[in-house]
């Protein structure tokens, strides 16, 4: 008996603790969610016939945008349930190729990741380019350089130039903050800023995430690296490339060449709900709204386009 009593007491206590934790959350969150909930039904009529569930995974850089657009889409299409997961571009492409998810988000063309034995898988994937990211060369503010040419950048990233004074800056050692070899951002930067693949240098620092790269460049004297335009702020200095400022306008007009598409891949032709979601992504409402708000460049505004091989054509 004794044992049973104590056992029941333990159980009861645990469940009470758990309930208390949940209950607390529930009551305090009401405010925020009610607003969203009341908005939804008023607009629901337009897309009420659409239903289904959509699962997207992949690029962590694209994830916040897809999440935000998905939330808006679900408000008008209450029958559709969209889940957005991270995992990285490679994971997204793997999972969409294996049909584990409906949409695979990627920072790079699928063909660049799925090659050799996997090339067939890439062929089955349908590309939807939803946004563009510009990538700026960034230095520590004290480096004393406002711009670099392609050749100077190549010299720096291949280790030929190791002091800022050799490229017209302060007398300071250059510290490279690079990205790992698997990074899509690095692939873009090497293709369009350096024009070549570079070897890793002894002593260089490699970070995968933009937040850490920014922190490192801002804190390390003499540091150089590259960042998406949306990450730029006063702690680091974005410098011009071949005399062109890294700005949204220059990317749109095609003057500034270091940029990449953000892709959302489907395996074969998308289902109705997936298609509606991807179409919604390319509407003006999203492209000039959420895309810009989150620091990306609208794919629909681009005056140039680029194919897998990197050939740029003016639209």
């Amino acid at each position: 008996m004794q044992f049973r009593k104590s056992w029941i007491m333990t159980l009861a206590l645990t469940s009470v603790v758990a309930l208390a934790a949940c209950g607390n959350n529930a009551t305090t969150n009401n405010g925020g969610n009610n607003a969203a909930a009341t908005n939804a039904p008023t607009e629901a009529s337009s897309g009420a016939d659409l239903s289904g569930s959509v699962l997207a995974s992949g690029s962590t850089a694209l994830q916040p945008l897809v999440e935000q657009v998905a939330e808006k889409f679900m408000e008008t299409n209450t029958g559709v349930d969209i889940q957005v997961q991270g995992g990285g571009s490679g994971t997204g492409l793997t999972q969409v190729a294996e049909k584990q998810v409906d949409i695979g988000n990627s920072d790079v063309f699928a063909e660049e990741k799925l090659k050799d034995a996997d090339a067939e898988k890439a062929a089955a994937l349908v590309d939807h380019q939803v946004a563009v990211v510009g990538i700026a060369t960034v230095t520590h503010p004290d480096a004393g350089v406002d711009g670099l040419t392609k050749q100077q950048l190549v010299d720096i990233f291949t280790g030929k130039v190791t002091n800022w004074k050799e490229v017209g800056g302060a007398d300071q050692k250059i510290q490279i903050i690079n990205r790992p070899g698997s990074s899509g951002t690095r692939a873009t930067y090497e293709s369009f800023a350096l024009g070549m693949k570079t070897e890793d240098l002894q002593g260089s620092i490699q970070e995968d995430s933009s937040g850490t790269v920014k922190k490192m460049i801002g804190e390390t004297p003499g540091a150089i690296g590259y960042l998406g335009l949306s990450y730029l702020d006063d702690s680091v200095k974005a410098i011009s490339y071949e005399g062109v400022e890294p700005s949204v306008d220059n990317v749109i007009s095609g003057k500034y060449p270091v940029w990449a598409y953000e892709h959302m891949y489907t395996n074969g032709e998308p289902t109705e709900a997936v298609k509606a979601f991807l179409d919604y992504f390319l509407t003006d409402e999203v492209q000039t709204g959420d895309v810009v708000e989150l620091g990306y460049i609208p794919a629909s505004k681009m005056q140039v386009s680029r194919d897998l091989e990197g050939n740029v054509t003016t639209k």
């Binding site: 490679g90 793997t94 996997d118 070899g181 698997s182 899509g184 490699q206 995968d208 850490t212």
Partner: protein
């Protein structure tokens, strides 16, 4: 009537006993299933690099060039293996003396409140999540190293320092257990011979408990070897064997965290990361084997 009741109670006992026993055996069986499937899946993924012929075992283990995305690609994982061993050994080197002193403090110097003071400290240190350690490493240790030593602060030294704090609790608690289980008369006879406390500690206590203390150190090293996030945040991740303690380097775990999400399953690059996971797994076996070896010596 009475006989019948007795019999049914007897049967009930048996049924209860049987169900309980089966359930427990099932739980044990589950443990076996988990470990077998883990070893099987990680190993089968890990060896696929070598089976597909992308790289040979010796090139993988001893090759120093890591450029998986270059043409032609090379998958030398030696810099990462060396980096893992380097930070692990350094961390053990820093943490061991501290831990042994803490254990002595708890058991020999002030057995009463020493234990009361340090026990919760040790438990809390082991409870702090590794992301928090990494966060502190990045915002305290790295700037400190950058301002005090040549280099960028990021590197092997920062990784080893963060890890040393993380493995302090493991070594201390094992060492303290060993010290407190030492027979009292051993110490008393030493004191009776007129030995000072330090003489007793250094000539009697430490030598007799050395295998047990070593067990703690090996367990600590096992934890350091497998730690991922905290190290990755402060070590710098350059794929090279570092030339100095203040230069950026990589460990097996850091390279896996960096590359796993960015590569597609089945690609040669991704497979080589799985091979590294296999190396991590095999190293766990080695560490456990060492612990077993030391425990056997301890018993004699």
């Amino acid at each position: 009537m009475r006989g019948k009741l007795k019999q049914s109670r007897f049967e009930k006992h048996h049924i209860e006993d049987f169900i309980g026993r089966s359930y427990m055996s099932l739980c044990v069986l589950l443990l076996v299933v988990i470990i077998i499937s883990m070893v099987y899946f990680v190993a089968s993924k890990g060896v696929s690099t070598f089976i597909s012929g992308d790289v040979t075992v010796s090139d993988f283990l001893f090759g120093t060039k890591w450029s998986p995305e270059a043409e032609p690609a090379s998958y030398g994982a030696f810099p990462f293996i060396a980096g893992s061993f380097l930070v692990t050994l350094l961390a053990a080197l820093i943490a061991s003396p501290l831990s042994i002193c803490a254990a002595l403090f708890m058991t020999e110097i002030v057995p009463g409140w020493g234990k009361k003071l340090l026990q919760p400290v040790i438990e809390l240190l082991s409870g702090i999540p590794s992301v928090v350690y990494g966060f502190i490493g990045l915002s305290v240790i790295v700037p400190f190293l950058r301002n005090t030593f040549p280099g960028q602060g990021i590197g092997v030294a920062a990784g080893a320092l963060v890890l040393s704090v993380m493995i302090l609790p493991t070594i201390t608690s094992v060492a303290a257990d060993a010290l407190s289980s030492l027979p009292q008369n051993l110490k008393e006879s030493s004191f009776a011979l007129g030995a000072t406390r330090w003489q007793t500690i250094s000539r009697v206590i430490i030598p007799t408990t050395l295998p047990a203390i070593m067990t703690g150190i090996v367990l600590g090293m096992a934890r350091a070897f497998g730690e991922a996030l905290a190290v990755q945040m402060v070590i710098g991740n350059a794929p090279f064997v570092p030339r100095s303690l203040f230069e950026s380097a990589s460990t097996l775990t850091s390279v896996i965290t960096l590359g796993m999400g960015n590569t597609t399953m089945g690609s040669a690059h991704n497979n080589s990361l799985w091979s590294m996971a296999l190396v991590l797994m095999l190293m766990t076996f080695v560490f456990i084997f060492l612990v077993r070896l030391l425990e056997r010596r301890n018993k004699i």
